[in-house]
């Protein structure tokens, strides 16, 4: 029973990280209809920046803030400089472009910081909570991770539903031409979408780095799981991203806990296929008809 509770709790905390990455992918998908395969590398870069700030200033929270700010700028720059040129190209071109960006960023990080992973400090203790003499596999840092991701998801929900900016972003995503006629600066909304997505990604990077360590390729599995989670939930739905992340986190935690971690990727495949065969647009897909 303790094992089950442990696996559930650790599943929730890894699921929260998947959810943050999935949120980043969903934001970009909604804004520009592009799957950003460079997301993992972008959050790797912002986490390296945070690491440099933390080690030179000694303040975790300064590094945390710098990572988010760097993400904001980075996302906007990538959209303006690169993505803008392939927004109207065939979808495969955008895929290859983001793969190219991923490759370039991994190489650049390797050149600057080296290829061997390094440790990254956590915001709070990594020692599990003690309940009645047994130590749970759930630390104050895990609690922090879950709370932050919930707060970001809720904040994004509020932004999209209750603010003028959110309304404009939704309009620019769903009906760009009509939105443009009504005075929405569609191009700027796409940039904002990428910037926000990169912030969510940067957050995921800082939160997960203490447990996966910091290296050029260390976040690749997180990106893959985040993408699977986003597809699971439905790429158009931010709540779907969060639910998808939690489902995937829990499922992978149970499978690796009871059956061995080698089977986890296979389990992800089975879950994804099972969901997509019933709902080809993910769990939270809204539209039934197909675009012609």
């Amino acid at each position: 029973m303790t094992k089950f509770i442990d696996l559930t709790l650790s599943g929730i905390s890894t699921g929260a990280v998947y959810a943050a990455v999935a949120l980043a992918l969903v934001l970009i998908w909604r804004a520009t209809r592009i799957v950003n395969f460079a997301q993992g590398a972008m959050l790797m870069i912002t986490t390296f920046i945070a690491s440099a700030v933390i080690s030179s200033s000694g303040s975790y929270w300064l590094g945390f803030g710098v990572a988010l700010a760097a993400g904001l700028v980075f996302g906007a720059v990538v959209e303006r400089v690169l993505i803008r040129h392939v927004e109207n190209a065939p979808p495969l071109n955008a895929v290859i472009l983001t793969l190219g960006l991923y490759t370039l960023l991994v190489a650049v990080a390797g050149m600057i910081w080296g290829n061997s992973p390094r440790s990254f400090p956590a915001a709070f203790s990594l020692q599990g909570y003690k309940v009645g003499g047994t130590r749970l596999l759930f630390s104050p840092n895990d609690a922090f991770t879950v709370l932050v991701v919930i707060a970001v998801a809720a904040g994004l929900g509020l932004l999209f539903r209750f603010t003028a900016l959110g309304l404009q972003m939704r309009a620019a995503a769903f009906a760009p031409e009509v939105a443009r006629l009504l005075g929405v600066r569609v191009g700027r909304m796409l940039t904002v979408g990428w910037a926000l997505a990169a912030v969510a990604g940067a957050l995921a990077g800082v939160l997960v780095a203490p447990s996966v360590f910091l290296g050029p390729n260390n976040f690749d599995p997180i990106l893959i799981s985040g993408f699977v989670a986003a597809v699971l939930g439905g790429l158009d739905s931010p709540p779907g991203a969060v639910i998808g992340g939690l489902i995937l986190g829990l499922a992978l935690s149970y499978v690796s806990g009871y059956e061995g971690s080698a089977l986890a990727p296979l389990a992800a495949l089975v879950i994804l296929m099972a969901v997509l065969m019933v709902r080809p647009g993910g769990l939270f897909s809204a539209t039934k008809e197909r675009r012609v």
Partner: protein, 356 residues
Amino acid sequence: MSVLGRLRALLGTSTLLRSLVWVVLAGVVLLVISDAVSAYNDLQLATGAYYFAVLAGLTLLAGQSGQISLGHGALMAVGAYAVALLVGNEGWPLVPALVAAVVITALVGIPLGAAASRLRGPYLAGATLAFAVGLPALADKFPATFGGENGLTINPPVPPTSLGETFPLERWEAWIACAGALVVLFVIYNVINSGLGKAMRAVRDDEIAASLCGLRVGRVQTVAFAISAACAGLGGALLAIVLQLAQPGAFPLQLSLSLLTGVVLGGLGSLVGAIWGAALLTLLPNWTDNLAHSFSLSNQVADNLPLAIYGVVLIAAMLVWPSGIQGGVRALGGRLRTVQSWRAQRPRPSGGAGAS
């Protein structure tokens, strides 16, 4: 009608004959090349040949049928393990083992393709990505059959004694791989130019219109996926024979991604594009490696430079040549023709006018 004229007319009407001419021409060229070059280059030729087999299938899927697959590396693994098990454990001769590997991969591809035909765009990308990541886990789960992390080894193929005692192994491997690539060239050329190919393009361009014309969209997509999977299986099997090894580490997600990259960089949907792509995948890593180590840089920079160059090439290609090398070549050819006809029509300039 002259013999030549009649032959030309026949080539114009018969796809089968035309494809045979191409295959024979390509075969002769490959034979000459493989005889002329060193053992190392023969190995590169073999590498290019098995990449071509996979890319030709992928270009049919992505370019003609309009589906995306991030899982072709895993399909290559299926072919590689099939041939390793049949040749290594069961002692099958090479050709039947290759045929069986193709059939097995196609059989894996059919349910996968049926599932894929329900999915679109990023959902298909996600599902095939999960396939590429998930499948190699089977090798770890059943180490007794698949050899776990170390994989399975295959004895090198033995060149027939009729070729002489000193016939190099690398050249024989290149011949085997090139023969496989030629078979794929023949099959895919005929599929693209058949009714099935036309159906795929119709489905790609407009699913609803295609189904109104009586095409069964799901079935066309499933068939495209199965053919493409069979090609990937053959490519993987040839890889296993050339490397004499089938191992999970040889089929990482990066392989699937670089296959897709090769198809798009070469030029989506065309067989010539697949040749460009195969050449790129074979030669680019070597070139960038040599280039990176020709400067006196610190190891940390030099080791990562090839990767950086590769990334820059991908980004630049998508910004400058969005339709790939073959698209660029075609556009260049078209522009030259326009210039020529424009020159022919333009009256001769009658000196005296200043610099323009």
